[in-house]
């Protein structure tokens, strides 16, 4: 997969508020060009699993859509599995798949097996081959009698796994996954993650994945692409990136009574303060000591340590200009 100087600029209507603005807009429409993605270049080798990170609105989905052929780039070019995506030739469409968290391709009122049969026919799999692949995927995803239950009766996690089955039945060589674990509970997230690792190992498929969950990225992606404001800021090993990101851990506190903001400066960086609820970012190497001091010195009712959401870490990174 190769992207060379890939860019997308949207034309949006520019309208001032109020009646005057509306009339002016009606008579003389004005447009503004808004760049969503600018000059993005990278190469992904067959079989690689790459994480695609960036805050909301950074251009992740636009880039994925350009690589799947759903959006025509306004600059640069892309080659995926040997094809130009936006031509959407049949060879290309059978070589790729796109899984978008909440967009379902399963027929709501029928069991997943019916949708799988349709996909098998569309991708030209004969009955015995389709059955073999359905059995294999069902085993990997731990789906059984759920496949004969109407989709609307399935839990979110079961539905997501059935979506993955439908998206992978034709055994695509390139997977684009946009938030594949969004909304799933921790167990279901872990199972989907394990499945993706197994699938990649078994088929040698290339995977490009976006996720809000740091755990997805650390478990799956040795390499990450970091995009912000439509530009690619980082392309490299996750280990090197997490040296910059991971020194921070998030500590949530619930106090017996509200305290002024200055109180928390000696312990770490104050992220938010809402009455008695406090969120701090504390360097990893000082974590044990800082937590012990917090418990000793402040009226703490509850304390929770977690990885900060990836968006927040990346946001900090950009605010501090570490990457730029």
């Amino acid at each position: 997969m190769v992207a060379r100087g890939l860019g997308k600029t949207y034309r949006v209507a520019d309208k001032q508020p109020g009646l005057g603005g509306t009339l002016r807009h009606f008579l003389r429409r004005r447009h503004r060009d808004v760049p969503a993605v600018t000059d993005v270049s990278f190469t992904i080798q067959p079989g690689e699993i790459v994480g695609f990170l960036g805050p909301n609105g950074a251009g992740k989905t636009t880039t994925l859509k350009m690589l799947t052929g759903l959006i025509h780039p306004t600059a640069g070019s892309a080659t995926v599995a040997g094809y130009t995506p936006h031509r959407r030739q049949r060879g290309f469409l059978t070589a790729i798949t796109l899984v978008m968290g909440q967009k379902q391709q399963l027929i709501w009122d029928l069991p997943p097996l019916d949708s799988l049969r349709v996909n098998a026919a569309v991708y030209g799999l004969d009955d015995s081959e389709a059955k073999r692949r359905i059995d294999e995927l069902a085993e990997m995803l731990e789906l059984g009698e759920e496949l004969t239950r109407p989709v609307r009766k399935l839990s979110l996690g079961q539905r997501m796994k059935a979506e993955l089955m439908a998206a992978l039945l034709h055994r695509p060589a390139v997977l684009f996954l946009d938030e594949p674990s969004l909304g799933l509970d921790v167990n279901a997230q872990a199972r989907v993650r394990q499945f993706l690792v197994d699938y990649n190992r078994r088929t040698g498929a290339t995977v490009l994945l976006t996720s809000h969950y740091m755990a997805d990225i650390t478990a799956l992606c040795p390499r990450v692409l970091l995009i912000h404001g439509g530009r690619l800021f980082y392309d490299g090993r996750l280990a090197r990136l997490s040296e910059r990101l991971a020194p921070w851990r998030q500590v949530r506190l619930e106090l017996a009574q509200p305290l002024p903001a200055e109180t928390f400066h000696p312990y770490g960086e104050l992220e938010s303060l809402d009455g008695a609820a406090v969120r701090l970012l504390i360097p990893r190497q000082q974590l044990t000591e800082a937590v012990a001091r917090l418990l000793n010195e402040l009226p703490v009712l509850d304390l929770e340590v977690s990885d900060p959401p990836i968006e927040e870490l990346i946001g900090r990174l950009f605010r501090k200009g570490v990457v730029a």
Binding site: Y10, K65, D109, D114, V118, N119, A121, Y123
Partner: protein, 280 residues
Amino acid sequence: MNRRWPRALAPELARGLRIARVLLVTQYAYMLEYRAEIALWALSGVLPFIMLGVWSAALTGGGGAAGLGLGLSQAELARYFLGAFIARQFTVVWVVWAFEEDSVAGRLSPYLLQPLQPLWRYVAAHLAEQATRLPFVVVIAALFFLQQPAAFALPSPARLLLALPAIWMAFAIHFLLQSLIAILCFWSERAQALERLLFIPYLFLSGLVAPLAAFPPGVRQVAFLTPFPYMIGFPAQLLAGLEVPIASSFAAMAGWIALLLPLTALAWRAGVRRYTAMGG
């Protein structure tokens, strides 16, 4: 003639037939989930029967059907409206609503990423819905004859053989016309408002509210320049066993399909180009 092309085409044909079979079976299963709703839709299509009541009342006061220039007996008029009801039941098209719902819900992108023209899914859904309607239509027709025993007559096998392709072609014309409007969704998300514009001439010129013979000659001449009279009137007349120019009507329908098919394909291509330019 190149003798190799049929062989190259055979796997494509087999693939197409398999997709058609699986889509039809799946969509039929889906429609059966909604059989109660579909029965209500079939019942709500009784406009021709209401029109029959209106016309019958007008005829008893106006010196009979011949007196109004229809050239039909009361029984023939009843059979015509039953034919119109049946033709309407198997040519109902709702692709513009389904397409709009799918594009608003974001289901269009996954469809566009599969190696199958998305409109085929809607064709299969319509055909499956017609199969679900069939038993309700038979029951309603039987009740109609019980109520109007004088009008009872089954079409001759020859007429039935002609009426079937006429209904399918009428469905094809209606489907293509509405697909053209549905494709406008790529430009404006509320394309179904335009469907209303199509519905008015369809209602009056198709023969749904009155046989075309009831219209003044000028209106009739204009009507036959449009596809509408072939969408209900022609198959209804075939089913009712009435006199109707068969060859020229089939030729006109074939002509409309030959015109609308490439037009829909072109519009689709332009629509997808627009969709991919605007951001999917």
